[in-house]
């Protein structure tokens, strides 16, 4: 599956590492799957394991260790709000609550239309531009900084437009 769909990308990723250290490609390959499927399925882990001559357990241990690899399906976009100390000193906790209220969800929950999951994350190196969040979705990982609830509304609006465009 993966190899058929991303043959070129996989070859390019493998070329970065010595041939006897294929295992180094496990993280970039997992990123490919994460972006494509929105989470890492058991099937994908099996395929990566066989591609890189690793055991499934070894691949699973990598998936479990790093926070950007999701083991469960959630909203199409994950809205990951930093509420660590520097952001919190600039109103991130209040912002987080406003977002939850606006979307009618609690931490970790997904909106009814399945579009957005809201969650807390740790520091994202944007402390001077708080409140901020990163979106993780089919378009990769993107930063959204100097946030207000109005700007969140604009972003949600753009996602919804993208959705209806795709469905047509």
């Amino acid at each position: 599956m993966l190899l058929q769909k991303y043959g070129k990308e996989i070859k390019q990723i493998l070329s970065k590492y010595p041939p006897d250290h294929k295992r180094s490609a496990v993280m970039p390959l997992l990123h490919l799957v994460q972006r494509d499927e929105g989470y890492i399925s058991k099937e994908a882990m099996q395929e990566i394991a066989s591609l890189l001559e690793m055991t499934e357990t070894e691949v699973g241990s990598v998936v479990g260790f790093y926070t950007l690899y999701q083991e469960k399906k959630a909203g199409k976009y994950r809205m990951q709000i930093c509420t660590d100390l520097p952001c919190a000193l600039r109103g991130a906790d209040e912002f987080f609550n406003q977002v939850c209220e606006r979307l009618n969800v609690q931490d970790g929950e997904t909106t009814q239309d399945g579009l957005v999951t809201v969650e807390h994350v740790m520091c994202l190196a944007a402390c001077d531009r708080a409140p901020m969040f990163q979106s993780q979705g089919p378009d990769g990982i993107k930063y959204h900084e100097y946030m207000t609830i109005d700007r969140v509304n604009e972003w949600l609006q753009s996602l919804k437009q993208l959705e209806t465009g795709e469905k047509r």
Binding site: M27, A125, Y143
Partner: protein, 412 residues
């Protein structure tokens, strides 16, 4: 004074290849490869007094000179995992002045005889990595990367590698594990990476900001660089200023500037004109400095900050004003360290878990003596018992918070 690292603030569009090249870009790399031996490059950096900007402040040239010349190949790895709460300087360098960083990485690779270098970026820097892949391709096309550079026998390739969200991967041996496709857990030392690093081969690992200094040192000489800063700490440093200041952001200043200058002259002072209560000079892993006049007027370098009972780390300065409760501060730092503990060493894994629990109770029920004593004792028991610094870091705000701000913990 014009910038040495954040030069994009003086030169518009410096992130573009042609603009960087037109402004002297890649001349230092060419000079190093065509006119200097690898050991001359290392000596120049050694003589400049440059110290590692990732946090430990280890002399950079000395680190390069440790590389084992009996084992080959060698690797150079750039630590672009920037994850310390309060630190956002490497990000600005890579977004706005990426070629100076890449040129520094290339010079370092030449100095230690590496033909392959990796940039390990935190996974959240996805967009930066995409841009960097293009920048690397531009350098290859122009003949600054690839085979037989500048008509010599020296060849170099640079590759990006994305992490996936783990603070611990900023620790250099955990980073190497991660780059080898494993969980990011620190290795036992010795052997040090200079002997057995990436793929078991001799490896030099430096921070993004450290590499970004190197082209300027090679272009202008060690004496020029040493003339800036203090005898303890040569050159300039980028301070990531955050928290309750009017103008948070990165400020590049010579070592020896004071916290007062940083907070008031550059940071525009404190929000609502409140007094500064505490300074965290090294992000969430920092000891808390009581912000009295003496502390504010202390010239910032490694030794002076240490004399105040703290460490400069990567100089991510978080400013706390008098409205901020230290109980809340440590509840935030502990939540972070509990989440980021890699689980390898028991004192850190269990200790951060329990400190976080106790801190939550203190937040909810107030600072009862037995709870504060218990928290303090758990922190003390973690210290000195972990393989890497993360365990130690998790205790710094707790211990210094309780000791130096007793009024916040009903201990006054």
């Amino acid at each position: 004074m014009s910038h040495i690292l954040l030069r994009h603030r003086d030169i518009p569009d410096l992130h573009k290849f042609n603009v960087y090249k037109k402004n002297g870009g890649f001349a230092a790399f060419k000079k190093a490869v065509t006119k200097m031996s690898p050991s001359q490059v290392t000596d120049e950096v050694k003589n400049s007094g440059l110290r590692g900007r990732g946090g430990a402040g280890f002399p950079t040239g000395l680190k390069w000179s440790f590389i084992d010349k009996n084992i080959w190949p060698h690797y150079v790895v750039a630590n672009a995992d920037e994850s310390e709460p309060g630190t956002f300087k490497d990000r600005e360098i890579m977004e706005m002045n990426p070629f100076q960083f890449l040129e520094g990485l290339a010079i370092a690779s030449y100095a230690v005889g590496a033909n392959v270098a990796y940039v390990y970026l935190r996974g959240e820097f996805w967009q930066i990595a995409e841009a960097m892949d293009k920048q690397i391709a531009e350098m290859e096309e122009a003949g600054f990367l690839g085979d037989k550079l500048f008509g010599t026998d020296y060849s170099l390739r640079i590759y990006t590698h994305l992490g996936a969200g783990a603070y611990i991967c900023g620790e250099e041996t955990a980073l190497l594990e991660s780059l080898e496709g494993k969980r990011g857990q620190p290795r036992n030392r010795p052997p040090f990476p200079a002997v057995a690093g990436l793929f078991g081969k001799p490896t030099v690992i430096n921070n993004v900001e450290t590499f970004t200094n190197v082209p300027m040192i090679i272009a202008n000489g060690a004496d020029w660089y040493k003339s800036i800063g203090t005898p303890d700490a040569a050159g300039v440093k980028i301070y990531s200023l955050s928290g309750r200041v009017r103008k948070p952001g990165n400020y590049e200043l010579p070592f020896g500037s004071t916290f007062r200058q940083l907070i008031y002259e550059y940071g525009g002072g404190v929000q609502d004109s409140r007094p500064v209560k505490a300074i965290m000079p090294a992000g969430a892993s920092s000891s808390l400095i009581v912000a009295n006049d003496k502390a504010l007027d202390t010239p910032i370098d490694y030794a002076s900050v240490r004399a105040m009972g703290a460490d400069l780390g990567s100089a991510s300065v978080i400013v706390l004003d008098d409205t901020v409760d230290l109980k809340w501060v440590i509840s935030k730092t502990l939540k972070f360290f509990k989440h980021e503990s890699c689980g390898k060493c028991t004192p850190c894994r269990e200790g951060t878990f329990w400190m976080n629990n106790i801190s939550k109770r203190i937040q909810q029920n107030g600072a009862k003596k037995e709870e504060v004593d218990l928290l303090f004792n758990v922190a003390k028991q973690i210290q000195g018992k972990c393989l890497c610094a993360l365990g130690e870091f998790s205790t710094m705000a707790v211990v210094t918070g309780i000791e130096r701000f007793p009024q916040d913990f009903n201990r006054a």
